[in-house]
Amino acid sequence: MIEPPSGWQVINFKELVAYRDLFWFLTHKAIRTRYAQSALGIGWAVIQPVATMLVFTLVFGKMVGVRSDGVPYFIFSFTALVPWTYFQNALTEAVASLIAQQNMLSKIYFPRLVLPISVVLARLLDLVISFALLMAIIAWYWSDPGWGPNWGICVLPLLVVIMIFSSAGLGLFLSAMAVQYRDINYGMSFLVRLLMYAAPVVYSVSEVPEKYQFYYALNPMVGVIEGFRSALLSTNPMPWNLIFPGAVTSVIMLLVGAMYFRRKERVFADVA
């Protein structure tokens, strides 16, 4: 039954299940083609956070002298950059995914949700690689019993799920909008830069006054980054007070993003 569009619709899970193989092949394709015909290949997954870490260490660690909770600054910032780089790349690519596949949108029917979501999943590989590097660095420098990994590591999968939800949710919302308003596309690099300063990537969360912490924690990446630091560096106990509001926001973001996407997807072929 095909009728003129009307109102909001929930996600059609039955259809998504029918297209699950497409999910895997698109994810596979995103991974295979991302660094195609480049000499360093997957090495780029490591270079980006490492280079950013070096710049931050020089600027914020040495010149500005940002406090780093008793941990060498470069490890302090790299621990934040590993999840942050994932979030940033997943979001940017998810937003661009629909426009990049415009041709597919206007020529073929499939659940449009798979495009941004497969990109978000494909970026997990980079996360795993840069996480391995992070663990290697920590192992190498881990001499002082005052800091280091602890059992909080068990919480990391939950933090990763929060990141996937929030990048997918925001990605769905913005990508659906970007099909019609290309401004979103141009504004993205600017937006992620702003978002980075709204999360404790270069500074410690203790710099934020106590009374604003709840509002600050509504940004899901705040809890995620602090959770990573807590689990890997033992800078402070697992910050549930930051993680919980962020987790709620990320679920809301995913639901709202998906609903907005569903509402918009029927006009993709006409406005793309």
């Binding site: 039954m1 095909i2 009728e3 003129p4 569009p5 029918a18 297209y19 193989d21 497409l22 895997w24 092949f25 698109l26 596979h28 394709k29 295979r32 083609t33 195609a36 015909q37 596949q101 041709n103 597919m104 949108l105 206007s106 020529k107 073929i108 029917y109 499939f110 019609q180 308003y181 029927r266 006009v267 072929a269 006409d270 406005v271």
Partner: protein, 445 residues
């Protein structure tokens, strides 16, 4: 052939034309740039929210790609959809395949639909042939297990097995298309929607594709909706056809009737001769065709010839300058748009056509093998081997009447033959042999 699987009711689709106001003064264009963000936003926003009542039905900015289209397709039927460019064919297919949504009306579809609006959508150049088969297959709605089981068949059909592990960007364009079509051809939907995909590949592969289509529709009893400009394919494959014109269904019925109607609409004006129009852009042509006429055996101008009748095409050209090794060519195309035959002056003259000035020639077809019908004629002058100096497409028509030129030319072949050939029959029985001729042009009884 009883269940209705597709039923379309009063389907309409409106598009907003993105018209931009023109500014012709410098000040006006600067002001327009400054004001543009707001206006752009409004325009972008209106792309999908435009109000049909605003300005009413006559709003110039709104284009009705489809208007109150209704039809039904039954289980196992092959429906051809024909019409000129912009008649709404592709929009209709897009709605039926759920890519775009209608503005009004609705369509009911029972069964799994696969749409092939383009061959090879989603192919990624960096992936190998094998990976692309899986990727493309899943995009078209297949499961991995389904592709696994048909993989060998798909590869076999495409004929690219040697390059399966090569990135597709190293493929020739033909190979890419063959692989893509093979994937699509092995889909097993209940309803298949195809747009013009047969216009790809070499002749051999096209034949294979048409054969596959026939298998799908006759052998496997699936429902097919087929858009094409290839009238012959529509005639051969479809059980029924719909003619779309300006977004509405202009005719619906037997394919050959519908094709005839479509072609008549296109050729409302049949030109039996050609006269150059003086104010046309003839200045840059080195050779100008002044007149072209159809003449009968007595070299009298005529409007049509009878079946089997010898005829000539009389041309007069004006050469603006000497044109060495020039030749004239005449191409006849049948009402399907296919080339029927061509004649040219190559090797007929040595240097007679090289000089500047006026040249009158007659091209005689002494033994006409043209079957009754209307043929479109293209006349051109070219410098050998292939440089066309001056070409006149569809400048006149040749009408071959059903009525035979002489009683022995009675046209008795059923169906739509491409041409009428001469044949000679020899019957041997014991020592007697009988010679009989069945030559439409040569028989002299």
């Amino acid at each position: 052939m009883s269940d209705t699987v597709v039923s379309v009711e009063n389907l309409s689709k409106a598009y907003l034309l993105g018209r931009q106001a023109k500014q012709d003064t410098f000040f006006g264009s600067v002001a327009a740039v400054v004001k543009s963000p707001l206006r752009n936003f409004r325009q972008l926003h209106r792309l999908n929210t435009f109000n049909l009542s605003e300005g009413g039905e006559e709003n110039e900015d709104i284009l009705w790609a489809l208007r109150d289209v209704s039809f039904e397709v039954k289980q196992g039927e092959v429906l051809g959809i024909i019409g000129r460019n912009g008649a709404g064919k592709s929009t209709l297919l897009k709605i039926l395949s759920q890519i775009a949504y209608p503005t009004h009306g609705r369509a009911k579809i029972h069964g799994r639909v696969s749409a092939l609006l383009e061959v090879g959508t989603g192919f990624h150049p960096e992936l190998t042939g094998r990976e692309n088969v899986y990727l493309n297959g899943t995009i078209l709605g297949m499961q991995k297990a389904e592709i696994d089981s048909k993989f060998d068949e798909i590869v076999d059909f495409s004929g690219v097995e040697k390059f399966l592990d090569t990135p597709v960007k190293r493929y020739s364009s033909g190979m890419k298309v063959r692989l893509a079509f093979s994937v699509a051809a092995h889909l097993e939907p209940e309803i298949l929607i195809i747009d013009e995909v047969l216009a790809v590949g070499d002749a051999e592969f096209q034949k294979k594709c048409l054969g596959k289509m026939q298998d799908i529709s006759t052998g496997e009893g699936r429902t097919v909706l087929f858009v094409s400009h290839n009238m012959r394919a529509v005639d051969d494959l479809c059980h029924r056809a719909i003619l779309l014109d300006g977004g509405t269904v202009a005719a619906n019925g037997d394919p050959s009737d519908i094709i005839k109607q479509y072609l008549q609409r296109n050729q409302t004006e049949i030109k039996t001769s050609f006269r150059s129009a003086p104010n046309e852009n003839e200045e840059d042509r080195d050779a100008v065709l002044l007149t072209a006429d159809l003449v009968n055996a007595q070299e009298e101008c005529c409007d049509s010839i009878r079946f089997g009748e010898p005829f000539g095409i009389r041309l007069s050209w004006e050469h603006r300058k000497p044109l060495p090794s020039l030749s004239y060519a005449i191409r006849f195309s049948d009402h399907f748009g296919r080339l029927a035959t061509a004649c040219n002056t190559r090797n007929a003259f040595d240097t007679e056509l090289d000089t500047a000035g006026r040249h009158d020639v007659v091209c005689w077809i002494d033994h006409s093998a043209f079957v009754p019908g209307t043929y479109s004629i293209r006349i051109a002058a070219s410098i050998q081997p292939h440089t066309i100096v001056s070409g006149y497409s569809a400048c006149m028509d040749l009408i071959v009447e059903e009525m035979a030129w002489k009683p022995q030319h009675m046209f008795t072949i059923k169906g739509e033959p491409s041409f009428a050939t001469a044949s000679r029959w020899i019957h041997t029985m014991g020592s007697n042999s009988m010679v009989a001729s069945n030559d439409p042009t040569e028989r002299t009884v």
